[in-house]
Symmetry: C2
Subunit: 337 residues, 2 copies
Amino acid sequence: MSSIRELARRCGVSVATVSRVFNTPEVVSQQTRQHVLGMAAEIGYLPNESARTLATKKSNMVGLVWDTDHRRPGWRHPFLQDILVALKSALSAHGLHLLMLAPDPGAGPGDPRRFLRAVQRHNVDGVVIIDNGSRDPAVLALVDAEVPCVALDLLFTGPTCTYITSDNAGGGRLAATHLIERGHRHIATITGPARNWPAAQRLTGFREALTAAGLPLADDDVVAGDFYLDSGHAAMTELLARDPRPTAVFAAGDEMAVGAIKAIHEAGLRVPDDVAVIGFDDIEVAALIPPGLTTVTQDKTGFGTAAAESLMAMLAGTATPPEPTTLPTTLILRGST
Amino acid sequence: MSSIRELARRCGVSVATVSRVFNTPEVVSQQTRQHVLGMAAEIGYLPNESARTLATKKSNMVGLVWDTDHRRPGWRHPFLQDILVALKSALSAHGLHLLMLAPDPGAGPGDPRRFLRAVQRHNVDGVVIIDNGSRDPAVLALVDAEVPCVALDLLFTGPTCTYITSDNAGGGRLAATHLIERGHRHIATITGPARNWPAAQRLTGFREALTAAGLPLADDDVVAGDFYLDSGHAAMTELLARDPRPTAVFAAGDEMAVGAIKAIHEAGLRVPDDVAVIGFDDIEVAALIPPGLTTVTQDKTGFGTAAAESLMAMLAGTATPPEPTTLPTTLILRGST
DNA sequence: TAGTCTGATGTAATCGGTTACATGAAACCG
DNA sequence: CGGTTTCATGTAACCGATTACATCAGACTA
């Protein structure tokens, strides 16, 4: 591969001049510039990014910390593909590449510094963290990286850290309000694991809106699931056994909502006539299963672009990290309510 | 950030010795090694990867070329998340990081060298290509990269290139055989775009198996879709208008199969009693929509791990690239047939 | 015309590692 | 005991860029 020295030699100029042609073209004469660029194209010269990074301490790379462990469930984020595409596109527009980091092999599998170390070795300009909901110490350790960090769907602040999250409470309110407007008076909910922060927020907003409408949420009408299909099915089965049974259910995740619909159908009841169901997330299935799942949608693309923007703001050198971003949630009306 | 020189100074040894501690520990004395490692931990020394890459020409990074363009559809790969997770895990196990490359800003948006240049600048040890089905010249130009390349779901060979694909023909055969075994005699198919290679293969296998069973496929019973829901709905509507209408349909993609089921239900018919439906891909919805979609599944995880393995084989330095990998497809039985 | 300014370019140090080769001490051998 | 190995370590060139500083020619100024 031809180096800058080779190119300089061929052009009869110094390496400094060649470097200037690519970095500060305005200071080199028109004539020299043309000559160098022409010769560069001819011999296929391309600057070596490792060398540039070494010299400038800027890599144009953003590290992605995403703890994908086959064996544990929970690493899976339903929107990941949309988020990744948006993130990558937004970063690409600024000339940044996205480096999906492997945990540092120098640290053991359980070492809380395994991501921090990987980040520090690679001269990345910034870091995006995709949470798997586990609040892994190795992820939380990243606050110590002296590098701009943006976490997705994870409370994460520090001197160089901020995060992006959906307006989960608002979404919960939206769901409640919608069901109330549809005339429901007895509304139950299938929530997520107690310690899951987004789930808790959704529940809070949901309860608020019900209470405000004079429809307090009975403890009996709150059943916890784990975001997966079967738990939604089980929870709904439990709710259908109540007497009187609720006429509407808010599931804190679409997969659970689908499970709930299944349970309702199995009980010989109809959606939405006997029981209305509303979900949260707007995953692909929501649009595809009959009768179509009404749901609260999160702005997946917004996660990616907001992360890129927060990062760019920090790279631009503001002293304090940007405020956390809360993305609006909106209601998608389909047949299930 | 502390450098190797700093660490060497503190330990009273030369930089070469420190370097050896991390790269060829067996040649340095037990005592010195302990001392250096201890001091390294103390001052938080970590080798700078850019410098290492510059010196060794090995970056431990694999470039990912994935042309994500918001504006065009088609960049979306239904399995991408599974593939990415598997790919990343497999690469991580070998200490390799995955660099999602932005197109080279030095090249224009339409420049066929925009990925090639990005690859060449970054000293990546290998490249994985995720196809969007468009046979973009900029993707095809990567055969010229003097770097091991593995393409997913794309015919792609060259002196350092190979590819991974599903046994699409076999999957087509599987679908046909299954329907025949279920007793169907009049079987139609909703295929993909004529120029789409996987779709064509699926059709070929499907037709073969029908013919072998003495049930030649009439032209009328082949309708093309575009892999999206609506096209499946439209195609099925068309097929239902035939007299006699087919008793079973093979859709070359699950989304189209879901569209087909919708059309069947809308026509007041039942699945599978009036018309059986089988799909291809095994996307998430397949398991979730009633009555459950029987489908031919592709080994998503296999794509990722096979890509990593082919890459590793090339990195290990075989003169010729590994043979293309064809992943087996298998039948998943659910309620729709 | 001497002095200053400006614009284009060159010189060389530097970024943080790796590694071929040199060195020197200790161990081994006949 | 001299000579050869072996082992641990040091010296210094090198990877391919960037950039502070120096240089120098020509234009401009008083």
